[in-house]
Amino acid sequence: MDWNTIFVTTVKASIGLETVVYALAAIGVNIQFGYAGLLNFGQAAFLGVAAYGMAVTVATFHLPFWLGILIGLAATVVLAFLLGIPTLRLRADYLAIVTIAAAEIVRLVFRSVKFSSVFGGSDGRQNFSGDFFAMNPYSPGTYGIGPISFNERVTWVLTVGWVLIAIACGLVYLLMKSPWGRVLKAIREDEDAVRSLGKNVFSYKMQALVLGGVVGCLGGFLFALGQASVQPDLFSTEFTFYAYTIVILGGAARVFSPVVGAALFWVLLVFVGNTLSEAVSAGMLPSLFTVNNIGAVRFMLVGLGLMLLLIFRPQGIFGDKREIALDAR
């Protein structure tokens, strides 16, 4: 067993691109669901329209990168309004299904052959990240401590990513300590009560939806830039599920829970995966396990791990046990 590889890849996963992307998406979900109680199951779509907005602007229409970012942001906000205006009046469960449906629609349209001249079909879009990497202040080489190092491109993406995460966390911290956040949390508990106290519930929900979407969309940008490519299936419903899992793993309505949750999620995935495959190649597992099915075993164990974490710590890592007691039926 190559413990060194397992260790290094696991540590790298905890700060790598996927962790950054999932953390940003989860911070968005945390704002929407954790604080405001909006069951937005379409977070993947917010990342998707942002990533595609940027990619299509640059790759299909050959417009400048920053315009792409602006268009991606605008697309996110527009999507939030499109989804929000009609649906924020609905009960939570109905909002969930509408957003999940909307996200699938977005993905299927991106994927379709019909619109492939714009979105590139199932291959998506490439060749849009040049300007971003042109801004890279790191000269070629690797950066990091010992084996835990990244090349200059990844370092640049991760730097931007973690700065964005820090900003997003700061924002959430400030907001949720403020009266604005209080209204949001109150809406999560009982909209009618909040209405009776003279707050415009719809407006706050919309603000939360847009804010969560915009934070998530930063993840979309990074995903696209980090891979130098966008594909429709990156933004499938599983993505949203995982974002929710991350939020709950960390503990809903806590500032740092999405970040820690995301890191934990990917650490789990990578650690389990690499340990297993090392064990197989070292011949430490019964012959029932082969390269062909070891991937399945990995996800089995990850599923099991998620279950166990939540069974034994239902409030998540940072959550408050007292709050959970209130939920019990």
Binding site: D93, Y94, A102, E104, I105, Y244, T245, G303, L306, L310
Partner: protein, 424 residues
């Protein structure tokens, strides 16, 4: 620059590398309704219009014109040499512009049809419209076919959701479980599918019971919140799905019985007998379970537990017992849904997961927690998936159905059969 050719039978044209082949050629076989047509003159000209050569079809309908090199050629069929009762199917295609590739022969086809039956683009208009309505009829049927399967899956989901409030993302895997049980008994053990299905429904029920007895029930007792349980169900789904992948493999597989059963024509619809039987069973189960929920004491108790478990216990209802029965029934119904899905769509490790969104759509569209909501909602979803292909490309058929879902939600936020709640 490899020279390698296998030439077996005269059935097929030949691509050969220049090192060996004596050159590029254009060729074809003229046929009218399966019969070769001979004596028809076909001439080939270069791109610049210079004639390259011509040929007349032989008794076997074949013709061949060698060309000097790769490039574009104009191939023309001399219509005057066609027999009287035969014409070109596409009148505007007497001359074709054909690309010949380096080192390969190229087949050219002139479609023929009995005189009178041929036409240009719009000739088939009349038969088109009738086949269009045939398709609409077929799609309506398919809508019900699919809708009923979704409904069956939705019924299981909505039973559990209705009683425990659990949004079970692992429900799709219960379907897969049922389908795989039936597969095991049918294909591996060799029992006829009908009996395999019965066994798998029973096992599905047991599976449901066991899940509640040793898993969900325990979590409830520990006071896990519904959100935590929802996420746990995502973990469970992941776990089960990959257990299936582990044991079943990534490929889909059909049951041993009734696979590719030939369709029979019923009016404009063609359907396999298994479809009718499956739909009958589905409808019967749905109506029976729905009525049971509405009319029987147990059904009412289930709804009571859904509303307020503590009060239900205070009324003398054994809450855990009721939930366990619901899980058992839910598991059995899900199993049946899985078998039905497998019957029409093959068994694969992702089958349940892939249909889960539609199941959720069906449940919500009908109205959460209503007995027949799942049925109505799912059929609407099924119908719209299929019928939307009349206007949108089929790759986007799910989009059509989901759009309808969103629209319905806007005008009836409580679902089709749902009721509004009182404020204050």
């Amino acid at each position: 620059m490899i020279a390698f050719t296998a030439f077996l039978g005269g059935l097929v044209f030949l691509l050969s590398s220049p090192a060996w082949a004596d050159g590029e050629a254009l060729k074809g076989t003229l046929q009218n309704q399966g019969q070769p047509v001979n004596g028809v003159k076909i001439s080939v000209a270069g791109e610049d219009g210079k004639p390259v050569g011509d040929a007349t079809t032989g008794a076997d309908g074949k013709w061949e014109v060698p060309v000097p090199k790769a490039g574009r050629y104009k191939v023309t069929l001399d219509q005057s040499t066609l027999p009287k009762d035969i014409g070109l199917k596409f009148q505007n295609r007497a001359t074709l512009d054909v690309q010949v590739y380096e080192g390969s022969e190229r087949n050219v086809l002139f479609a023929l049809a009995p005189a009178g039956k041929q036409g240009g683009g719009a000739a088939q208009a009349s038969s088109d419209s009738s086949s269009f309505w045939d398709r609409v009829a077929q799609l309506t049927f398919e809508g019900f076919n699919l809708g009923l399967i979704i409904a069956l899956a939705a019924m299981g989901l909505s039973l559990v959701f209705g009683t425990t409030g659990l949004t079970n993302f692992a429900h799709g895997e219960l379907l897969t479980f049922g389908a795989m049980c039936a597969y095991f008994f049918n294909v591996v053990v060799g029992i006829p599918l009908i009996w395999a299905a019965v066994i798998s429904v029973v096992i599905g029920g047991v599976f449901g019971y066991t899940q509640d007895r040793f898993f969900w029930g325990v979590l409830r007792k520990r006071g896990s919140s519904l959100v935590a349980m929802m996420i746990i169900s995502i973990g469970l789904a992941l776990f089960l799905r990959y257990v299936f992948l582990f044991f079943f493999g990534g490929e889909g597989a059909p049951y041993a019985d009734y696979n590719a059963q030939p369709g029979i024509q019923v009016g404009p619809i063609s359907a396999a007998p298994k479809n009718f039987i499956a739909m009958g069973i589905e409808l019967a189960v749905l109506v029976i379970v729905g009525l049971a929920l509405l009319k029987t004491r147990l059904g009412k108790a289930a709804r009571a537990v859904a509303d307020n478990p503590a009060l239900a216990a205070s009324s003398g209802i054994n809450v855990d017992g009721v939930i366990r029965i619901i899980w058992t029934v839910g598991g059995a119904v899900a199993s049946l849904a899985g078998v039905m899905l497998g019957l029409s769509q093959n068994v694969s490790f992702q089958m349940g997961f892939q249909i889960l969104l539609l199941v959720f759509a069906g449940v919500t569209l009908g109205g959460l927690g209503t007995a027949f909501g799942a049925l109505v909602g799912s059929i609407v979803v099924g119908l719209f998936i299929q019928l939307s292909t009349v206007v949108v490309p089929t790759e986007l058929k799910t989009v059509g159905a989901l759009l309808v879902l969103i629209l319905v939600m806007l005008f009836r936020p409580q679902g089709i059969l749902g009721r509004r709640e009182r404020i204050g």
